[in-house]
Symmetry: C2
Amino acid sequence: LQDDFWLSEHIAVPYRTFKQRYLVADQYWKKDNGPILFYTGNEGDITWFCNNTGFMWDVAEELEAMLVFAEHRYYGESLPFGNESFSDSKHLNYLTSEQALADFAVLVEYLKSSIAGARHSPVIAIGGSYGGMLAAWFRMKYPHVVVGALAASAPIWQFNDLVPCGTFFSIVTNDFKKSGTGCSESIRNSWNAINHLSSTDAGLQWLSNTFHLCSPLKNLQDAAVLKNWLSETWVNLAMVNYPYKADFLQPLPAWPIQEVCKFLKDPSLSDKALLQNVFRAVNLYYNYTGEASCLDVSQTATKSLGEMGWYYQTCTEMVMPLCTDGVHDMFEPQKWDFDALSEECQRMWGVRPRLSWILSMYGGKNINSHSNIIFSNGGLDPWSAGGVTQNITNSLVAVVIPDGAHHLDLRSRNPLDPKSVQQARALEICLMKQWIETARHSH
Amino acid sequence: LQDDFWLSEHIAVPYRTFKQRYLVADQYWKKDNGPILFYTGNEGDITWFCNNTGFMWDVAEELEAMLVFAEHRYYGESLPFGNESFSDSKHLNYLTSEQALADFAVLVEYLKSSIAGARHSPVIAIGGSYGGMLAAWFRMKYPHVVVGALAASAPIWQFNDLVPCGTFFSIVTNDFKKSGTGCSESIRNSWNAINHLSSTDAGLQWLSNTFHLCSPLKNLQDAAVLKNWLSETWVNLAMVNYPYKADFLQPLPAWPIQEVCKFLKDPSLSDKALLQNVFRAVNLYYNYTGEASCLDVSQTATKSLGEMGWYYQTCTEMVMPLCTDGVHDMFEPQKWDFDALSEECQRMWGVRPRLSWILSMYGGKNINSHSNIIFSNGGLDPWSAGGVTQNITNSLVAVVIPDGAHHLDLRSRNPLDPKSVQQARALEICLMKQWIETARHSH
């Protein structure tokens, strides 16, 4: 998709530089200071985000815009210490959102000074998920660099006690409840079914066979891993519950939760019958192409995401409290346990998370002095629990897409798009044009 | 002056903390969310800034305000690595303005959450010189933490090519020109007089004796040090040219440049006669109390300033281009030489300065999306060359005090204060009250 591809040097630490990858597409760009849409890369390979942010490609011609996709340090090929980046936790000291934003600021200025005709180009930050947080924070911290930001499905309030920790999983549950009779109840009942079976070796064996697991379950701890993997699968399905066949985290049919729920109609079945259905459901998620010979409970998301880097970030800045109660959601009850996280982080990386750091840095709910940020949220997306879903001021605008999953608005136009996402995109484009016009007149 | 004194722990690097010193005075504070005036400490001992910022003490009762003076990391007693802070340049990696601002943000939040009745206290940042830059940047980067900032004599534009490098020294020169006939000419002529004398051993000896130097000059390099020391002395006199007897950098009489210029009326004297007068002039600066037995060319400023830390900062972020031409100023011509600085920094600390970093971080002249910052400038102060001297918007207000030297407005009220500084303070207080009122109503 991209027609150009460069690497630039950025300073990581005093006296050291690293190569940061970014992608540029300028075929629609008006060379006389046409706007730049700048994707603030998140926790993964930038080519993958580039290929899943069709919205930017769709609007490039209309806005006569240059597209830039900047890779986040410590992800993809932008590794400050190369292959050693994760081998020693002291190499990770420079993996922070603040440093990533500074990289973006320096990159934008480099592009504007080095590309002929870009000197006065208004730049708009665009990102989804953590990339959406970065887009919003980029506008907050560097309003001299970007004239505005589109922060799609950005849970900037999923920190500390700004929102209830349980909303996230109740949204997931609602998605399943609405997608088929008996569906969320089947999943709620599946946990005890697994608990019963995993109490015997024969049961563990049966579970391993039934779920076609690559590595058989050996004990209760392995059974806990299985349950955790199932939970993450339901969450991921809620995130990618798109209205058309798509391949974001996995190749999936349209409205995949509805497809999954076709297997989960009867919550009153026996343990084994229920779990055979649960297998059919997750098998749809992991094996829609039919290529998988077994299912691997250590894998949930795509390999395009940088799991190690993100884990470190959740152990330092990105502490997002989540919890379940089994009543308002279909999951096993689990309290938010900061101390357990902190111990795990100490063990893994020798660091402890700072619960209120992100609030201190980026203001929490006290952000009304900023301007020109669109916060878009999908009503089906669990991350909308921590998103900005009501306007804060005239220029801090919340957009809600009731039929949308995780940053549906950033995906390519599709004939099956619901009206709500079409309207959301229209508003986003309209506001971006206003920002561009205002920037133009201020010159 | 302060009635309270605490030390708090702050995170310097992952897994490490350091004790940051701050001073609190709350005798006039209205305990029901009265405002907090927060001094953003600069490159020195915070008690010294506390004792030289009488303005805050003068307005505390009227505003029913708590005063907080926060020490900048790596200065005074706030040393992240204790006595080792400067012994290894890798310990200095955490000495940046960004880290200092984050310290301030965390400290403000700590105070608001731990002091009863301070939870909704509006906080105003106040600082002078580099502390003034920090106050302005604090409001820009943390508008959720401070409702406004008074940035006194803050040369936020003395970076890169935002202002001409020569204005600084031409302001110094004007101060001397206005303070006595022949004064700036005498100084301009003194350089060649020193050059002539320092070409012989007898001349070096004569200079050493005449200037009562603690260490005699041995060669041309020493003579260059002498000239540099004289230049810095004239600059310092311009900074502290206050209308009354004061003791900021040195104990001095009222309008010290006028006093100095009484010795420098005749620029046409012979080399030796001219330099004897120059000695009398600098002796007034260094020995007004008559206690000095000799003059030390390695000392210019007060020991309350942290020279090592500031030198490191000028070698990393705080690169402020300055130059002289000997025509528009009274100094020996000297071009701005970034490469020489860079080499020196590499030699000293193993770092190289980044010329455009401060602009990338804080926006340079492109800061009009921010709000509630007062930039005050003294017309006599060379640092006004890099200051904001014209309003940028309705809420980014420039205040000019024609008769003021370096942050005169932050000093205690004095019967000899010129009308211009009285009016400047009145405007500053009025705007601060507006910010406090607006903050109060938003609750």
